[in-house]
């Protein structure tokens, strides 16, 4: 690269950093004060972009129309954020962390369909910013004026936030609450309004971040999840709750990305390597490196002590007889199903069984092991792709069915080594990062994984070819997998996992190597998620990168949490209800996401302990 090309790539990086920083600063503020990992933050970014597009079209493409549109879109996003906080999140501050996450994800679904309803499915590219629509010559190359403006906006907003946080009384309260929420509360800070205010400010930043980008990038329905994973990375790399950290991380990641695009294809040591393909993963690689070296991010500090009892699980008792009888009856019905139902129902039941195994394997790691994984789809996907690729290149289907889970276990062995070094939100983000790395490898390696098209002709062997035969295979493998995972939880190993979660201090003091135990648990969970993925691949006959994508991981979380994380049977019930709901709603309405999101919100607000938790309390007269 010539020196002028380097300069241009550097500026490109700085220009993309600004919008990213705005959104990340908002998320960081919200997390710092409320401790909520707000998935819906990306949705407010998306709304900001869409609203700015419409407003600018309405006001006219004049400087006033453009900047007025951007500002009003930002303010509207802030207002929406405040309303969401008051109506929904305020009711959930006492709920378990994962349930809050579930609620914010439900918001993502609702807002996405709202945007679809209002703006339609087409991408909407905004006009060039009036007054900044020319290019200037930098180092002999043309560089858009608007990008220079963006470069300036980042530091300006950083400065304004710094003034707000250090020079105003409100800012002092925000910093106090970030440092120690309970202490701030004990000192008489009105938490309700502080939280609403922070949510409004954070959402405003997200909205402006989206609005300001419309001349460069179109508003699309997929931008909510794509920005949220970028922003999670920025916030985690910078240190949760640190605004300067978010700025530094946004710069670092954007500049590295810009250089990857700029370098492009490189030919070295006889291999062609495409740096531009690296852009989808490079931020996650940066994050993995930073987290291993500095587990609290570049400028973050070890998270403040969380006081209070949290929710303590009841001891694990042997399953009561009525439950065993119920399970046996269910199994008998499932065995008889091929005689009773049509092919469609059989396929749906097969899906339910696969996702029941997937969600039980996820529960294994987030429940008893206490490791909150946001990226369990990685192992489902590795299992699916492992099995499909093994079938294509190496072995018959019967063997490939088991090669898939092994591939997933190997992936979990590698990723788990990093993950067990972290805990809490940082662990969750790292698991998400590994899932995204897996996704982008699968998505881009056209010659091996089929890229975005995926792999086709992944059919089971002839003797398993009929719907009924494959259903029985699915039933057998899913049931065996679920029972094995449950059995392990009753075994000393499962107890050791819970010991490491309940009290790492005591576990260490009685000779338990907590990290190694968690690592082993991670691999086992990956193995069984991989089995679910392999069975899934052959049931569909084709797979696409969707099996590794973020929504798949979130589906798993929804199933576990919907069913109730504190029970063993919960994840199975959650998988059944969720898969069935998704299928039913998708067949009956175009807005299935919003419907599903609303149902999840209602369930979260009504049953904060999950569906089975509610049933258990009701029928076993358990104290609340």
């Amino acid at each position: 690269m010539s020196s002028s090309a380097i300069a241009i790539q550097f500026l490109n990086g700085l220009a993309s950093a600004s919008s990213l920083f705005l959104v990340a600063a908002g998320l960081s503020l919200i997390f710092g004060v409320t401790r909520i990992v707000n998935f819906a933050h990306g949705s407010l970014y998306m709304l900001g972009a869409y609203m700015a597009y419409s407003l600018v079209e309405y006001f006219g493409r004049t400087p006033l129309g453009f900047w007025g549109g951007v500002m009003i879109a930002g303010l509207a996003a802030g207002l929406i954020g405040a309303v969401l906080e008051i109506v929904l999140l305020r009711r959930l501050y006492q709920a378990p962390e994962l349930l809050q996450l579930l609620a914010t994800f439900a918001l993502v679904l609702v807002i996405k369909d709202f945007a679809l309803w209002v703006w339609g499915p087409e991408d909407l590219l905004g006009p060039r910013a009036p007054g900044f629509d020319q290019a200037v010559a930098i180092a002999g190359r043309a560089f858009p004026e608007f990008d220079l403006l963006l470069i300036a906006i980042g530091p300006v907003v950083l400065g304004l936030l710094w003034l707000l946080l250090t020079r105003t009384r409100w800012g002092t309260l925000v910093r106090a609450a970030t440092e120690d929420r309970e202490m701030a509360g004990a000192l008489g800070v009105n938490q309700a309004w502080l939280f609403t205010g922070v949510f409004a400010l954070g959402s405003l930043l997200a909205g402006i971040g989206g609005a300001i980008n419309i001349p460069r990038e179109p508003a699309t329905l997929g931008m909510d999840l794509s920005i949220i994973s970028d922003v999670f990375v920025v916030v985690v790399v910078g240190g949760m709750g640190s605004i300067p950290g978010a700025f530094l991380a946004a710069l670092l990641i954007s500049v590295i990305k810009a250089f990857c695009i700029g370098i492009g294809e490189v030919h070295a040591f006889g291999i062609d390597f495409s740096f531009s393909k690296l852009t989808l993963v490079v931020e996650f690689i940066v994050m993995a490196i930073v987290l291993v070296i500095r587990p609290w991010g570049l400028l973050g500090r070890p998270s403040a002590v969380a006081r209070g009892p949290g929710t303590v699980e009841d001891p694990l008792r042997a399953p009561p007889r009525p439950l065993l009888a119920f399970g046996a009856a269910m199994l008998a019905i499932l065995v008889l199903m091929p005689l009773l139902s049509d092919a469609y129902t059989l396929v749906l039941l097969g899906d339910i069984l696969v996702f029941a195994l997937f969600s039980v394997s996820l529960h294994f790691i987030i429940g008893p092991a206490g490791m909150h994984s946001f990226g369990h789809a990685a192992y489902f996907g590795l299992g699916a792709y492992g099995a499909a690729l093994a079938l294509k290149h190496l072995m018959p289907m019967e063997a490939a069915l088991f090669a898939g889970p092994l591939a997933a276990a190997l992936g979990a062995l590698l990723f788990g080594w990093f993950c067990v070094r972290l805990s809490g939100v940082y662990l969750a983000m790292l698991t998400l990062a590994f899932a995204q790395i897996t996704w982008s490898i699968v998505f881009q390696w056209d010659t091996f994984t089929g890229g975005s098209n995926g792999l086709v002709d992944v059919w089971p062997a002839a003797w398993l070819g009929s719907k009924t035969a494959y259903y029985y295979l699915t039933l057998a493998l899913a049931t065996a997998g679920i029972l094995l995972l449950w059995r392990m939880l009753y075994a000393p190993f499962g107890y050791a996992l819970r010991a490491g979660r309940d009290s790492p201090l005591r576990a260490d003091a009685i000779g338990i190597d907590v990290r190694r135990t968690q690592w082993a648990g991670f691999v086992l969970a990956g193995l069984f998620a991989g089995l679910a993925g392999a069975v899934y691949a052959f049931s569909k006959g084709s797979i696409s990168p969707e099996v590794v994508a973020i929504p798949r991981s979130v589906d798993g979380l929804v199933m576990v949490l919907l069913g109730g994380i504190q029970t063993l049977t919960g994840p199975v019930a959650g998988a059944a209800v969720f898969t069935w709901l998704q299928d039913t709603i998708a067949r009956n309405t175009d807005f299935w996401r919003a419907t599903l999101g609303m149902i999840i919100l209602v369930l979260v607000l009504a049953f904060p302990r999950g569906v089975t938790g509610m049933l258990r309390r009701r029928f076993m007269r358990e104290p609340a």
């Binding site: 303590v312 699980e313 009841d314 001891p315 694990l316 042997a318 059995r487 392990m488 009753y490 075994a491 000393p492 190993f493 499962g494 107890y495 050791a496 819970r498 010991a499 979660r501 309940d502 009290s503 201090l505 005591r506 576990a507 260490d508 003091a509 009685i510 000779g511 338990i512 190597d513 135990t517 082993a520």
Partner: protein, 248 residues
């Protein structure tokens, strides 16, 4: 023979010398109390013995084996039991299961994937619970126990690997006065009958002077006195540290 030998232990935080050249030893079957005013370095000293903190200089030896540099779990495997100032138990497990965990770990059976954990070493766990008077509460969840009972459970857990040294950090902190002597009496009886060396820190002087065989006194990181309760009670330096120079 001394079970625990501590030589020239030092630790500084920034410019503050938290523990300064401390040496002492504990014999098998002996109850040694470590006392001192707040900030004397007791907790720092304790955490260097149990592997949670690395000393700047000095050594800790248990039955002739160097403990410095070992992880807490490795120290436990050598036969050192611990109880914590703020009890640490597995809240989602029953009282019996807490003890079973220590027994399973002691036998290196925690990797097993298929046997039912609750059936392992059940009688042995109940016997240990019997020794601390918690046999009748074996089925209860640790999360719902009264604090004094949690302390008893911790003691049973600490005894599960038949330790030859017991480290107890403020064993009676947070307990009602009546319970304190009772618990310490229990620990003392168990230690003497099994010939276990016990090192404990304690704020309650009544407990210390009633149960300790010997006492060491720390002040500002230094060991300023040691001896029998009577010696320590009479020591003018100890009086000065605790009561101030007014009475000297």
């Amino acid at each position: 023979m001394s079970a625990l030998v501590v030589k020239n232990l030092s630790k500084a935080y920034g410019g503050v010398q938290a523990v300064d050249d401390v040496s002492f030893s504990v014999a098998a079957g002996e109850l040694l109390a470590m006392i001192g005013p707040n900030g004397a370095g007791k907790t720092t000293c304790f955490n260097m013995l149990n592997g949670q903190l690395a000393p700047d200089t000095g050594s800790v030896e248990f039955e002739g084996r160097r403990l410095t540099g070992l992880a807490p779990r490795a120290i436990w495997r050598l036969g050192v039991g611990r109880t914590f100032q703020i009890t640490a138990t597995f809240a989602s497990m029953t009282v019996r299961e807490n003890v079973q965990m220590a027994l399973l770990s002691h036998r290196r059976r925690l990797g097993a994937l298929f046997p039912v954990a609750a059936h392992q070493y059940r009688d042995e766990a109940d016997a240990l619970l019997g020794r601390v008077g918690m046999r009748d509460q074996a089925e209860r969840a640790c999360a719902v126990l009264a604090y004094g009972n949690l302390k008893r459970v911790e003691l049973a857990v600490a005894l599960a690997n038949t330790p030859r040294l017991l480290l107890m950090d403020e064993p009676t902190a947070g307990m009602a006065p009546g319970e304190r002597n009772e618990l310490m009496q229990l620990a003392a009886d168990l230690a003497r009958s099994s010939n276990i060396a016990v090192l404990f820190t304690e704020h309650d002087m009544d407990v210390v002077f009633t149960h300790a065989d010997r006492i060491i006194v720390l002040a500002q990181g230094r060991l300023i006195a040691q001896g029998t309760p009577a010696d320590v009670r009479a020591d003018p330096r100890v009086r000065e540290v605790y009561l101030g120079s007014l009475h000297a």
